[in-house]
């Protein structure tokens, strides 16, 4: 399946990625499984997505937790806890 990925704030800056199109194997994917997959890209990715840093995720503009399922065509985003207002 194909998804669109977005990174924001500290993640975007550190990973040096703001968005990418990703093709995943055709099997069930949760946010956690996606994070584990991306973490294999290298130390920085591992630290950013699976490390001490709290990471929040959204699917199609809705905040979700690690167990949320990803579907074909979804827009998935990773970012730090928000600090607006």
């Amino acid at each position: 399946m194909k998804i669109k990925l977005f990174y924001f704030a500290r993640l975007k800056e550190t990973l040096n990625y703001s968005t990418e199109d990703l093709t995943l194997p055709d099997e069930p994917y949760t946010i956690l499984k996606l994070k584990a997959l991306l973490a294999k890209r290298g130390d920085t990715w591992g630290q950013m997505l699976m490390g001490k840093l709290k990471v929040r995720a959204a699917i199609n503009h809705e905040l979700v937790d690690d167990h949320a399922s990803i579907a074909d065509g979804d827009e998935v985003a990773f970012f730090p806890p928000v600090t607006g207002g």
């Binding site: 977005f6 924001f8 704030a9 500290r10 709290k54 959204a58 503009h61 809705e62 905040l63 985003a77 970012f79 730090p80 806890p81 928000v82 600090t83 607006g84 207002g85």
Partner: protein
Amino acid sequence: MSVRVQLEDFDVGFEISQLRKSHNSIGAVVSFVGLVRDLNERDTVTQLTLEHYPGMTEKSLMAIIAQAKTRWHVEDALIIHRVGPLMPNEQIVLVAVTSAHRGDAFSACEFIMDYLKTDAPFWKKEITPQGAHWVEVKSSDDMAKNRWNNKN
């Protein structure tokens, strides 16, 4: 109900007068304005940059207003949140709520701000003479949000 994410500053008086238009049963308008403080925990802030997640921001702000409307009698509500570079003392955010009764207006306005602080995808980066850094999350913001779960 409307939300706006913008680079430009806003005029509180004008926004409130617009919000009141075409509503005759408003008895109360409560507004909150958040400002850039020039002192944070560590250093003197010389500038702030606000990043957001276009698309999700608007959706999450509308959802927060909708949630407030299920809990209190809200006639109308407005959120304006600025993004981009901001200087100390500049306005960051406006939340304005109109209602027939003041209790509803106060509660809904504070609820919207507390949820905005934890759920709306904005990120602040502070630029100080010692360098730039992303603002850390405050646990007091989670506490402020969570107390609404114990209230009617």
